[in-house]
């Protein structure tokens, strides 16, 4: 594996004239449409993968906009209602000196979603156009995106817990805003987007590059 960046040394199922099952890894003869071990639908390459990636990615982006514009929390204390957006909450936390929490919220709610959008877009583009990044690095990037996706729900969890705990009628109450729903949907959409990506396309692109 010292030459992990150079795929040509590795024989892919496609190159061997076979079709591999994505779920269980068994290879089949071409023409078999269903994996005879695990029953999953098999295809040499998922031709609609990139389309779906883009579709979900766009959906995630669309709902990410109201998630940032609309208030995440609606806090009512003694009849005075205040609403805070994600970024507004970060700024408030910084003003109160809670830099650590501010950093966590900022990282989980803004940095991670944004970089996920960028990463998925980059990967989707990389199978259609030539990019400089090696196939291995792109694989690693894809794995990171897949792994980190669920952790960006941290903000939604905080809102859900606060809203259910702090319901003290007039004294204080916290209700989720539109942004909480939008954000959760956005995270879900980007996860589906990442899931839709057929990582085998990275190899094909790499091969095309080497074979000229």
């Amino acid at each position: 594996m010292e030459n992990a960046g150079h795929a040509p040394q590795i024989l892919t199922a496609k190159a061997a004239g076979l079709v591999g099952c994505v779920q269980c890894g068994r290879v089949h003869r071409p023409g078999v449409m269903v994996c005879d071990r695990c029953g999953a639908a098999i295809a040499s390459r998922d031709t609609t993968s990139v389309q779906r990636v883009w579709a979900w990615l766009f959906a995630g982006l669309v709902v990410y906009v109201p998630a940032n514009i609309y208030p995440m929390l609606r806090t009512t204390v003694l009849g005075k209602t205040s609403e805070s957006t994600i970024f507004g909450g970060v700024v408030d936390l910084m003003h109160h000196g809670s830099y650590g929490i501010a950093a966590i919220v900022f990282f989980a709610s803004i940095i991670i979603p944004c970089s996920k959008f960028a990463a998925i877009a980059f990967l989707a583009l990389s199978v259609q156009r030539k990019v400089r990044m090696s196939a291995g690095a792109r694989h690693k990037l894809y794995e990171v995106v897949e792994f980190v996706g669920r952790w960006s729900m941290i903000d939604v969890f905080v809102v859900a817990i606060l809203a259910s705990l702090v319901q003290l009628d007039f004294a204080a109450s916290i209700n989720p805003g539109i942004a909480a729903v939008s954000f959760a949907v956005s995270v879900a959409f980007t996860m589906i987007s990442a899931e839709s990506f057929d990582s085998r396309l990275i190899w094909d692109a790499d091969e095309d590059e080497h074979h000229g």
Binding site: R29, R52, A55, F58, V65, Y70, L78, G79, K80
Partner: protein
């Protein structure tokens, strides 16, 4: 390692078209986009209209927190608070619901509601917790008005307006000499009911007065006419006058904040337009008096000349007719009257008279008014000075109709004059004095003397000696009565009655016709005869009474004689003697002759002693003693009276008990009892008489 063989390639058909190849996943972003756009549109639609309000200061206004209320409903939110470019005021930018924003015209008012504690109460308490809010006020009716100018830029008020736009009523202006009676928010009363409020007073530009806007709520504003007057009721008011001490406080709030009242002081006012200016008077009286002082546009001016001093009369003094105020004095002056041949200074007062006071229309031409007054003057209308009040030194001019007045000089409409008559100012004191002197002159003492004398003669009549003969006769009468009662028939009657009580009831009719009844009737007759005797005797008494005065006259003559004894002349002689003695002593000869003096004095003393020893005094004493003896005799005689009356009493009681046994309702019984009662009364009178004599036996003699 065998070279791997390429797998058989799966040959696919021609590439499907772009649309056929399109994934269903694209529906997701489209749906997401639609939902997001929907939310965004909703937010945009609810965003409302952005308005700007300029405030002097924005205490308590917090962006994103302070709300805008209209009729206590939240209709907007403050977005930001910033300064105008020149830093002269604060601009509050807020979004307001479109529904409300469409009604906002340039008349709309905005003010910040803060907690406030004032004399009239506490307001804005809810803002203590929730923070201040901005209240909007505008007249919703203006919405359909084409004149109304829609705008999004407003001037905020420093404090809540007393009159919120949209309130119905009439706005007026009050003009006062000083603002001390006026304070913002002070109530306006009408017949004790709060019907409006005063706004912040401000100085008139010219500086000599204060004006304040005021607002009278509907429907009370209908009471406002040109006949309406406003007066100050702030604080308390007390007055001391002929009517007594008067103290009044309108209400506690007006005591602290001041307040005004209004009332209609005459009828026939016309409705007032908005922002009509009313003058504020110091009190109700001056407000009512003002009617003739400031409504004399059409008044006519007459002059009246007076011979007497007009001290106390001043410009503005009232002119009254039959107690009604009809005008006032306009000017005072003097002029030289030479109509009577010689020059004479007379005082002249110009008086203006309101035509309405005489029931004429307010727009009556002056000529007509003067004609009317001329006729009145021809009929005897005159002016005279009169005192303004019982305790007032001020004067007023009184118009009176003098019957049979001497013909006045010709009334000249160009120089109208009203003739004057002698005033009756001085009469008051003289009248009062006259009343007192008349009371003083009443012959009270004579009256008392008369009454005393009358009482004395009555006493003398009662005390007459002849009255003492009465007991004897009465005694005889009673003996007769006792004889009747003691007769056997009556004595045995009770026994018979008790023995045959049932029989008696059965033959009650028989009993009445029996001899017994006849006897009783005869007894009754004899009792009546006895009564007649008493009456006859009373007649005798009257005859005897005429003798009393002669008796008294004799006694008095006796005393008179004692009085007229020549004591005086004796004393006079003695005095003369002493005088001559004095003269003698004064003379030089006497001094030279002390011995002679001593003798002379001895002589004088001797003469006086003789006088003292003379029978005069003894005579008098004897007379008085005999009188006293007479009184004693009377007393003695009177001593027998009580016993007599007592005897009568017991007799009567006896008779009563005896008769009580008879049927209570029979006529005989009743009459007998009545007769007895009269007898008893006579006895009681005797007792009283005897007591009187016992107490003061001399009264018979001296009539006192």
């Amino acid at each position: 390692m065998a070279e791997p063989q390429p797998a058989e390639m799966k040959i696919e058909g021609p590439k499907r078209s772009f649309w056929r190849n399109l994934s269903l996943a694209w529906l997701v972003p489209i749906g997401a986009l639609a939902v997001t756009m929907g939310v965004a549109w909703q937010s945009y639609a609810e965003r409302g209209t952005v308005i700007e309000i300029r405030f002097e200061n924005a205490a308590g206004v917090v962006p994103e927190e302070t709300t805008i209320h209209y009729r206590d409903v939240t209709v907007g939110l403050v977005e930001k608070v910033e300064f105008t470019p020149d830093l002269s005021s604060v601009v509050v930018t807020a979004t307001v619901d479109d529904v409300v924003a469409s009604g906002l015209t340039s008349d709309a008012q905005f003010w910040v509601v803060r907690p406030e504690v004032s004399a009239s109460g506490i307001s804005g308490l809810s803002t203590v917790l929730s923070g201040v809010y901005i209240e909007a006020g505008f007249d919703p009716k203006a919405e359909g008005d084409s004149d109304a100018v829609r705008t999004t830029s407003f001037e905020g008020l420093d404090s809540a307006p007393l009159v919120k736009p949209g309130m119905r009523g009439t706005r007026i202006v009050l003009r006062a000499k000083s603002g001390s009676q006026l304070s913002a928010g002070a109530p306006i009363f009408h017949q004790g009911i709060e019907v409006g409020r005063i706004e912040e007073p401000r100085l008139i530009d010219s500086g000599n007065g204060v004006i304040a806007d005021a607002f009278i709520d509907s429907p009370y504003d209908k009471r406002l006419t040109t006949a309406t007057r406003f007066w100050d009721t702030s604080g308390f008011n007390f007055s001391l006058g002929a009517g007594g001490f008067n103290f009044s406080v309108e209400s506690l709030a007006s005591l602290i904040r001041g307040g005004v009242s209004f009332g209609t002081v005459f009828s026939g006012g016309s409705p007032v337009p908005s922002r009509y200016v009313f003058d504020l008077f110091d009190d109700e009286q001056s407000a009512q008096d003002s009617v003739y002082s400031d409504l004399t546009d059409n008044a006519v001016t007459l002059s009246a000349a007076f011979d007497q001093s007009v001290s106390g009369l001043s410009v503005g003094s009232p002119v009254t007719y039959s107690g009604l105020r009809v005008g006032q004095v306009q000017a005072l002056g003097a002029f030289i009257d030479d109509s009577s041949g010689e020059q004479e200074v007379k005082l002249r007062a110009s008086i203006s008279i309101d035509p309405r006071a005489f029931g004429l229309e307010s727009d009556t031409p002056q000529e007509d008014t003067l004609d009317f007054l001329g006729n009145e003057i021809a009929d005897g209308l005159r002016a005279r000075l009169a005192s303004e009040g019982l305790f007032s030194t001020g004067l007023m001019i009184e118009l009176i109709t003098v019957p049979n007045a001497e013909a006045p000089f010709a009334f000249d409409a160009a120089d109208p004059q009203i003739p004057s008559v002698e005033s009756n100012i001085a009469d008051l004191t003289t009248t009062a004095q006259g009343v007192f002197s008349r009371i003083d002159n009443l012959p009270i003492e004579e009256m008392i003397d008369q009454i005393t004398a009358t009482l004395g003669s009555i006493e003398r009549l009662v005390g007459n000696e002849d009255l003492q003969k009465v007991p004897g006769s009465v005694n005889g009468l009673l003996a007769d009565a006792r004889g009747v009662i003691g007769s056997e028939g009556i004595q045995t009657l009770p026994d018979e009655l008790s023995a045959t009580v049932s029989e008696l009831r059965g033959i009650a009719e028989e009993l009445r016709t029996a001899d017994l009844v006849g006897t009783l009737t005869r007894a009754l007759d004899s009792a009546a005869n006895a009564a007649d005797t008493v009456n006859a005797m009373a007649g005798d008494l009257e005859g005897a009474t005429s003798e009393i005065p002669t008796l008294v006259a004799e006694a008095r003559a006796l005393v008179q004689k004692a009085n007229t004894l020549p004591l005086d002349s004796f004393v006079a002689q003695a005095t003369e003697l002493l005088d001559s003695a004095d003269a003698l002593i004064d003379s030089d000869d006497t001094r030279a002759l002390p011995g002679a003096l001593a003798r002379a004095l001895d002589e004088a003393q001797g003469a006086l002693a003789e006088l003292r020893q003379g029978g005069v005094v003894e005579n008098t004493n004897a007379t008085l003693a005999s009188a006293r003896d007479a009184a004693a005799a009377i007393e003695e005689a009177a001593g027998t009276l009580p016993a007599l009356s007592q005897r009568i009493g017991t007799l009567v009681a006896q008779a009563e008990t005896t008769l009580g046994g008879y049927e209570a309702n029979s006529d005989f019984n009743r009459e007998t009892v009545n007769a007895l009662r009269e007898v008893r009364q006579a006895a009681e009178a005797l007792t009283r008489l005897s007591r009187q004599i016992e107490r003061n036996p001399n009264s018979l003699l001296f009539g006192r």
